[in-house]
Amino acid sequence: MNNALIQCPACQAWLMGGPFNQREFGPCPACGVPLRGEVFPALFRKFSASQSGEAIIVEGESSCFYHPQKKAVLPCDSCGRFLCALCDCQLQGKHFCPTCLEAGRTKGKIKSLENQRTLYDSIALALAIYPLITVLLYMITVITAPMALFVAIRYWKAPLSIVRRTRIRFIVAILIALLTIAGWIIHFSI
């Protein structure tokens, strides 16, 4: 990616100048589509070369857990292993080793690395409601209502959406599932 230039999203032409940081739209010089851009100082920032870690010169110096030939510069804030400059992954002011970072991502312990969540409350609600509203499929509520109840209870404590969310879907799903199950019990007992 060219660091200094911006492309028109429509025709991919490079925009040398143009309607940047102005309130009004201007035409793309290549395709004429009206556009405007908000450009920030990060566009012109130069990237510094990454550190590779210093080699151990004096015998007995602390070494990196992952690279025994490299000098340790700090410990991992999670597991305490010594790390060289190469293995030091800085995140929100804390220093992690690559293993802890990966574990934090996969287990969802580092929230800022979490990129996916299953919405069990929506699944429970869908199991409770969809077969009821599709009138032709109401018979399968014999199976889906207990399933909705199971999902709601089993995943009650599972994390919900990362953005604002309440457990109201779980509650509604449980109520509808209980009513459906009660309805079936009455139906079979008559």
């Binding site: 990616m1 940047f20 851009g37 012109f44 580092i110 929230k111 996916q116 919405l119 959406s161 990362i162």
Partner: protein
């Protein structure tokens, strides 16, 4: 590992349906784009310090939706007129039913028109250019930009004026152009048979 702390997000846009339900949220130091299929939600964070540019491009979204909604409006209008003028089936009930549908479609048409001109919004960082599907109307996009512009500028040390941007771009382009012309002249001097442009 320490437990995850809760981040409070402020909603910037409501859901917009484009392949998946997408929305945009404002975090303490980043924007969060959520895409959801109803059962699984995926997230993408754009940290203020990393955002290089936001490009907004007008499109024909409003005109297309207006054209799509105009068809049922015309059909319902024809239905109302047909019932009132006793062409097809003389029925006041029919006219009322057609009028209800006419009103519904007119309401959608009005809402679509009032939402403003359609647009596509892209956000650029050093390693990616991502579309923000929930920013699909110019007035809404302007409102969101007005809200996040100062936050991004504050994270990067200040806003840039239009003149500063164009001069910085020119500065960066000039050495590249000089290098290219130097290479071309060197190639031409090595190859005397090449035409001198």
């Amino acid at each position: 590992m320490e437990p995850a702390s809760e981040i409070h997000y402020q909603r910037l846009t409501r859901f917009s349906l484009q392949n998946t339900f997408s929305s945009l949220w404002l975090g303490p130091d980043h924007l969060l784009r959520t895409n959801s299929n109803g059962y699984v939600e995926t997230y993408k964070r754009f940290y203020f310090r990393d955002i290089q540019a936001i490009i907004v491009q007008k499109n024909r979204r409003r005109a297309v939706f207006n054209a799509i909604l105009a068809f049922p409006v015309l059909v319902c209008l024809f239905g109302v007129l047909a019932c009132l003028t006793y062409w097809l089936s003389p029925s006041e009930v029919g006219a009322v039913v057609w009028s209800i549908f006419l009103g519904i479609f007119l309401l959608f048409l009005l809402i679509n028109h009032l939402l403003g001109v359609g647009c596509a919004c892209h956000i650029r960082t050093a390693v990616q250019i991502e579309r923000l599907p929930s920013l699909c109307r110019v007035p809404k996009t302007e409102r969101v930009l007005d809200k996040i512009r100062p936050l991004i500028a504050a994270a990067q040390g200040g806003e840039m004026s239009a003149e500063t941007v164009s001069s910085r771009m020119r500065e960066l382009l000039e050495p590249a152009a000089a290098t290219t012309s130097a290479q071309t002249s060197a190639e031409n001097s090595n190859n005397p048979a090449a035409p001198n442009v």
